[in-house]
Amino acid sequence: MITNRELDQFIICKKCDTLHRKIPLHKGGKALCSKCETLIYRRDDKMIENTLALVITTLISLIVAFKFTIITININGLEQSLTLTSLFTVLVEHQLYIVGIMFLFLIVIFPLMILSSMFFILFFMKIEKYGYSVKRLLILLSHLKHWSMIDIFFISLLVAMVKLFDYARIELGVSFIALILTLILELIITKNISFHELWQKHDTIYGDDDD
């Protein structure tokens, strides 16, 4: 039988399932998988502070993106704008309730839940309190992480704009910029953070026996 401390020395690559023994890294170092060269872990001492700042910014820009006009089109003087409310009005008007509910969850609720739970995890870790809540939130986050589709929504927006290019004049709204900002920040956050590291920080801050 192997103890937990010894087990913590191992890590399994999430892409090709190869078992590795961890080695200590220097500051800012990265460890790659020996078989498929995926990044498996790294050392970043300022991770919590940096990511917390990024998460707060992303949350604000996401709320801005949901609040204001994304794009406005103008066909021979007739104007129509795309906002979150006009989107749901149209879906309800055409009685597409299933698509509407999926859209509500994939674009609005899950991204907001992911970001806010990330905020609470990092904030609680920063003040080193509420170990049990952090654990529950981390488990919630690992179930939610597949279900955010903001990036896909943005690509769809670009495709729709290209389709409309010939017929209409398109004006970009405030939310369009906010959406781009959100996506870039989200990309930086996912590059910056990994679940493995979050759990490891959880273990070092709260110890193994918090519940």
Partner: protein, 197 residues
């Protein structure tokens, strides 16, 4: 003595667990590590069959209906791609074709292959199967592009004379993507390892 097969990775918190067939829960997050292999197998298969069934109406029913001066024109996914190709916007046609025709088909083929390969111990590299599963999980949500485009268009082209709105195909397509994602999520990567025992 370290043997590779004795270690499993918790799919929730990514920690390494020692696998002695008795510990049912992850040592860190208490999520289930072991469940009888057939549960995961049957669940994946059930979601996959649902998705394949939904793929048929998704392609047969119109995904986009445009109403111009009282006349309805309906277009399916393939019809939309052909229309875009003829209109000369090749990049968009290719994006839609790949995202809404090839990606779902690839997912079906990958998942069927993984299920057959783990059930009947097909002799191929374990690492390749893990990579295949990783790809299946990563490309999954991208088929939603077409549904989102239709929704965005139906919001923007919403005048009294001309209107565009999603048809029944959009609902079944969205559900199809949802079920393929569930199917991929319920596939247990430990099934891949089973063949070595």
């Amino acid at each position: 003595m370290i043997k590779r097969d004795n270690f499993i990775r918790c799919h929730v918190c990514e920690t390494v667990n020692y696998d002695n067939e008795n510990n049912l829960l992850c040592r860190r997050c208490n999520s289930t590590l072991h469940q009888p292999a057939y549960i995961s197998f049957h669940r994946t298969l059930a979601f996959l069959i649902t998705a394949i069934i939904l793929y048929i109406p998704a392609n047969l029913y119109p995904i986009l209906i445009s109403k111009q001066l009282g006349v309805n024109t309906e277009s399916t996914i393939i019809g939309g791609v052909i229309h875009l190709w003829e209109a000369g916007s090749y990049p968009i046609a290719i994006i839609i074709l790949v995202a809404s025709v090839f990606v779902p088909l690839l997912k079906f083929i990958f998942l069927i292959y993984l299920l057959i390969a783990t059930k009947y111990n097909v002799n191929s590299s374990r690492v390749d199967k893990h990579k295949l599963f990783y790809i299946t999980e990563a490309i999954g949500p991208w088929s939603m592009i077409d549904v989102f485009v239709v929704i965005i268009l139906s919001v923007l082209i919403h005048f009294s004379g001309v209107q565009v709105f999603p048809g029944a195909g959009a609902t079944s397509f969205a559900l199809m993507v949802f079920f393929t994602m569930l199917s991929a999520l319920s596939f247990d990567t430990k099934l891949i390892k089973k063949e070595f025992k």
